[in-house]
Symmetry: C2
Subunit: 382 residues, 2 copies
């Protein structure tokens, strides 16, 4: 038995809603295990009746049946268990419990004091609109690709997209620092091509290179992007961690919009009873970590998300979350100009429409395709 | 249609084995989609008959039936697609395909040229044995906890464990930089307590603090650990990324053994048809990223891994992998001194036995419990 511990805590707690598969008794037992596993990870019977037991143990706030053999357990944790660090917040919310089957993080609720510790999206919907000078229509986005093209060819492509009216021109997430289009050369050429196009169009299209890179290289690439005149950064937090997306967003020397790419995050969301809910992965955590645009694979494309989960992502991107700005959802993954009307009817004006490969199918090339894409969006908007 | 591209590549390719659920035709179709999705992510019919098609597209090397409706597709990629960066290697291997259901990364095979780009574990089994001066028995490991104790109480615990004969004394992964035991104070006190114990025992126990932390804080904590005389580092690559574990392992100013903690990686492995195989997550990727000890939840504890997947992890930790050192598997998660014999019969001498809470159950305290643990291991060994 440990000696009793006296603590001086704020009393503020954050809540994690776990979806648990099983009977009510099984759900209750699993919820009790979570309270221990996610905090003390220590035999509960060896902890005296002290402040660790009273405040550090997770606390079951409610257990609610959702379907047959499906329960939602809301468990609260002292904000002090997570410090004010997103790494430890993820660890307390789901670290070891991620390894247990049939438990999913369905939602996260943070008290104002904890939310205040997160700067969140630097731009959000209104800030990105102000940067682009586009106040009243959905934003247009595409990617330069495929992997294997030279930096010169990719830059020509970026310039044509900008001339045609695409607002956000990002690297395909498969572009890193490969021999065929080395990062430094690619970013310099692409940023220049988009700036030249902007001078001609009088628009303010932004180029966002992919800075997902190992260790210090991530920072070198982000600063190089800034120095080259890039207008945003693409980052995959599933590969480099939500905390580095946050650090990029928070860095005052960068001050660039952040585009969140879903690479490697699939394992959290492909199975309905494990991992984390789509709104948590793409919405709440994306905003805590400073994303301004959250890219997700839309229903009806190459991936398998349902219409329902896409709407949950959109809601989590835009709904109130303390003082954190609402952000743009960017449905993607096999979208086409032909679907623009349907997408906007469903998702509304504060949406980034990301169309990739389909723009290359236009008989007159990507400049014409981009113009057609923009016209389609403007026509709808009028 | 793109203009034809000419490339000058090495011809070397790495292989990813995907387990795909479905009929043979479905598996073939999904494999063909993977070849595109993981590389060009571009309409294949718009790529001319050039070097991008011939060398950048993924290439199906074989499709083999494993069970009814279960196939293994081996797909190769040019090493140049991934640069020599572990972030991009993960991205090409599984980035977007992680979002598709019923596809799992079953294995990774790297050519010598790519393996040579990874320093891998700095110590591995033989190096860690040399550091500890323990040549001929399994290693003993435990964690200081629970969250909520003061730095002073945790340091006393660390010292007692070292006096009792535990080789590796790590932070519980729930210890970060919380008010009740701030990182700097905890690490200074714990490192000192273990060093003092070592002077008395003439052994060389190591203290490994948890450096899983956001952005620059990870590096500050690692250097602080080194300066304080800590003997290893605990890191959760599921939270901060495999690349930062690799950067910690490779850093010559640190030069410390790396203990790999599985927090947040569960979603990759809890479902049999999604994510990545256990041997890939804990073994191959752990070694590429420089782990010296790979901690995993053993069967028969609080978690649900089967005996079979635990053996797969152990095999992946120790089997030949280019010039990369074999590493210690560390079965954990509810282990007890009573299971030592069984664990060693199954896993062999090159194992780290990680026992946490059970050591606190001994009526005479953790010093006596540690001694008993060591005696049990020595007796078996004799």
């Amino acid at each position: 038995m440990l000696a009793p511990t006296k603590l001086h805590l704020s009393g503020e707690r954050f809540c994690v809603t776990y979806q648990i598969v099983g009977t009510r008794d099984e759900a209750m037992r699993k919820a009790e295990e979570i309270c221990i596993e996610q905090t003390v990870e220590f035999p509960a019977d060896l902890v005296p009746d002290d402040d660790i037991r009273a405040h550090i143990f997770g606390r079951i706030e409610s257990i609610e049946q959702r379907e047959e053999r499906l329960f939602h357990a809301r468990i609260s944790y002292a904000v002090e268990t997570a410090g004010l660090e997103i790494t430890q917040f993820l660890n307390v919310a789901f670290g070891n419990t991620s390894i247990k089957p049939d438990i999913q993080v369905a939602d996260l609720t943070l008290p104002a004091s904890l939310l205040a510790a997160y700067a969140g999206p630097r731009f959000g919907i209104s800030g990105l609109r102000a940067l682009l000078g586009v106040t009243d229509r959905p934003l247009l986005c595409t990617a330069i690709k495929p992997m294997g093209l030279s930096a010169e060819a990719l830059a020509r492509m970026a310039g044509d997209f900008a001339l045609g009216g695409i607002d956000l021109i990002k690297d395909d997430h498969g572009l890193a620092d490969q021999v065929f289009a080395p990062y430094a050369e690619r970013v310099r050429r692409c940023a220049e091509a988009v700036q030249e196009a902007n001078q001609r169009t009088r628009r303010r299209s932004l180029y966002a290179p992919n800075v997902t890179a190992p260790g210090k290289a991530l920072w070198e690439r982000a600063y190089l992007a800034k120095a080259a005149g890039a207008g945003g950064l693409l980052v995959a937090p599933g590969i480099v961690g939500y905390d580095r997306m946050q650090a990029l967003a928070d860095d005052p020397q960068l001050g660039l919009p952040i585009l969140f790419h879903p690479a490697l995050l699939g394992s959290f969301v492909t199975h309905p009873y494990t991992g984390m809910a789509h709104g948590v992965v793409f919405g709440v955590l994306g905003r805590l970590a400073g994303a301004d645009v959250t890219i997700f694979p839309n229903f009806g494309g190459r991936f398998s998300f349902s219409r329902e989960v896409c709407l949950a992502i959109v809601d989590a991107a835009r709904r109130p979350l303390g003082g954190l700005r609402p952000i743009f959802p960017a449905p993607a993954g096999g979208m086409s100009v032909g679907r623009v009307d349907d997408l906007l009817t469903l998702f509304g004006v504060d949406t980034v429409l990301l169309i990739g490969g389909d723009l290359h199918r236009h008989p007159n090339g990507i400049y014409a395709a981009s113009q057609q894409f923009l016209e389609k969006v403007m026509a709808r908007d009028a």
